[in-house]
């Protein structure tokens, strides 16, 4: 067990270092982060500011948090490409493909999110948020980050496994992402939606991964939930996603082996 944990830790650390490999090539991409925060805040300002649920600074911080999470969510091509190509070899190795994929994805996504947190501290205050607000939000986000990153990893893993037995899965990555972008509260807080949409969307798991996290980071408490309730919901979702992952892996393995590898 100790050897296994040591192996996965080293494997994860290797993928952490990999994140810094092509930094200059992704630097320009990181600049899209404060840009989208700026545009989405203007949209909120025009359409929803009259509701008074958030100040402008709070909304900038909220959108920064949700965009930060979304930028590294469900990017199987960027984060899971190697896992796919390693599937055949992994079947002949003593280490489980799911374990290796999970540990590498967790390291990559967590590192990516921590980088975005650092960028947020530097580039979001000039967009219009208060520095104190951004610092508080990032501090609260760091508390929740491990749990929401596990969710992101399990969802990405699902698509990586699914693509192994149906190539066309890649066409459904974008729509899946849009469910969270448009309906999970990434583009704007669900608290500004009117009924019945607000209740409907807040009840969905997607709101726990983005809207509730962003709301907590800005306001210091969840929307209509206690901390314990949110943690319980996330834990159940992790169990469900993990079960799905095992199922998808078994199907992919059977398909791969019957196909001839």
């Amino acid at each position: 067990m100790v050897e296994t944990l040591k192996f996965y830790s080293k494997y994860s650390f290797f993928h952490v270092l990999e994140q810094f490999e092509g930094m200059t090539s992704t630097l320009a991409f990181y600049l899209t982060f404060p840009f989208y925060v700026w545009v989405l805040t203007w949209m909120w300002n025009y359409f929803n500011s009259y509701q008074g649920n958030f100040s402008r600074s709070e909304v900038i911080t909220y959108v920064a948090v949700t965009e930060l999470l979304f930028f590294s969510f469900l990017r199987p091509g960027r984060f899971g490409g190697k896992a796919q190509s390693d599937f055949s070899i992994a079947l002949a190795r003593p280490r489980h493909w799911l374990g290796m994929t999970f540990s590498s994805l967790f390291a990559q996504i967590l590192t990516n999110r921590l980088l975005y947190c650092a960028i947020a501290l530097l580039l979001i205050p000039p967009v219009g948020a208060t520095l104190r607000g951004v610092v508080d939000a990032v501090g609260r986000l760091l508390v929740l980050l491990p749990l929401v990153t596990i969710i992101a990893v399990l969802v990405t893993c699902l698509f990586v496994s699914a693509k192994l037995f149906w190539e066309q899965t890649e066409h459904f990555v974008l729509p899946m992402g849009k469910i969270f972008l448009a309906l999970g509260g990434v583009v704007g807080p669900l608290a500004d939606f009117t009924e019945p949409w607000r209740s409907l969307l807040v009840a969905l798991p997607s709101s726990d991964w983005f809207f509730q996290v962003g709301y907590f980071c800005v306001k210091g408490h969840f929307f209509g939930l206690t901390f314990l309730e949110w943690t319980l919901r996330i834990s159940l979702q992790i169990v469900a996603l993990f079960s799905l992952n095992v199922f998808f892996y078994l199907v992919a393995k059977r398909h791969h082996q019957s196909y001839g590898g």
């Binding site: 200059t24 090539s25 992704t26 630097l27 320009a28 991409f29 600049l31 899209t32 840009f35 989208y36 545009v39 989405l40 203007w42 949209m43 300002n45 025009y46 359409f47 929803n48 190539e167 066309q168 066409h171 459904f172 974008l174 729509p175 992402g177 849009k178 469910i179 972008l181 448009a182 309906l183 583009v187 704007g188 500004d192 939606f193 009117t194 009924e195 949409w197 969307l201």
Partner: protein
């Protein structure tokens, strides 16, 4: 040139239709993607907010125009968007050995299957606008979608040409495209305050989204001419930058390291 374009487009279409499952999955995925985004934005911005209803035709029209324009370019001329990557990976080299325009050949070299979904969805959304706006609004939206398509070609060429001048041109190109997409797909022409709206006029979004949509709204001849002029400047500027970059690219010595 026209015969070449026709042949290349037919070859791309044949390739797409040769794998109908892939085509259908790609198209369906993109339609689902755009519909979810539209539904989410409608819930966020318009549902239960009657004070914003006057802006609904503009909002839907811009979504349809952008989807249709983007889809037309990426389905029939998918290589333009990948121009920076083509240059970085040396795939421009074979295109320089022909007597044809390398830019046109690059543009015709690829076809994005999911863009078919953008075309279908763009048409459907613009048609839906006909329920809440007069017919001439719909017709202007269709016309403007073609102008936007030209604008996208100009933007992709401009962004792609940065690969001639910078080592990481593809990431700069990606940033330019993402930025313009963000400024064009959302109704920035209306929602940005007057003190900050001037920024748009220094971005490609003015030619792709802002001025064309002003023509859709106001239906003035001058608005139409401004839209055409803006797209013309963007396309001409982009083609000029590509030509400049190409000359630089072709004159670089292969003996030493390439700067």
């Amino acid at each position: 040139m026209i015969r070449l374009a026709r042949a290349a487009i037919r070859a791309n279409l044949d390739a797409q239709f040769a794998t109908p499952v892939n085509l259908l999955a790609g198209a369906f995925g993109m339609i689902l993607n755009n519909t979810l985004m539209l539904a989410g934005l409608w819930m966020m911005l318009f549902a239960g907010k009657p004070q914003h209803n006057a802006m609904l035709p503009y909002f839907l029209s811009i979504q349809g125009v952008m989807a249709l324009g983007w889809g037309l370019v990426n389905f029939f001329f998918g290589g333009f968007r990948q121009l920076a990557t083509l240059i970085e990976e040396g795939q421009l080299e074979p295109l320089l050995a022909t007597p044809r325009s390398p830019l046109l050949l690059a543009g015709l070299s690829r076809s994005d299957v999911s863009a078919f979904g953008d075309i279908v969805q763009g048409f459907l959304v613009i048609a839906f606008v006909g329920w809440i706006a007069p017919l001439d609004y719909v017709l202007r939206s269709l016309l403007v979608a073609l102008i936007a398509a030209l604008g996208w070609i100009g933007l992709f060429t401009l962004a792609g040409a940065t690969a001639f001048f910078f080592a990481r041109g593809s990431s700069i190109a990606q940033f330019l495209i993402e930025m313009t997409l963000g400024l064009s797909v959302y109704p920035t022409g209306k929602m940005l305050g007057p003190d900050i709206r001037w920024i748009l006029y220094f971005t490609p979004a003015v030619a792709i989204g802002v001025l064309p949509m002003e023509y859709v709204e106001r239906a003035g001849i001058s608005d139409f001419l401004f839209a055409i002029a803006a797209v013309g400047v963007l396309v001409a500027g982009a083609a000029g930058l590509f030509k400049l970059g190409l000359r630089r690219y072709q004159t670089v010595s292969y003996v030493g390291p390439r700067s």
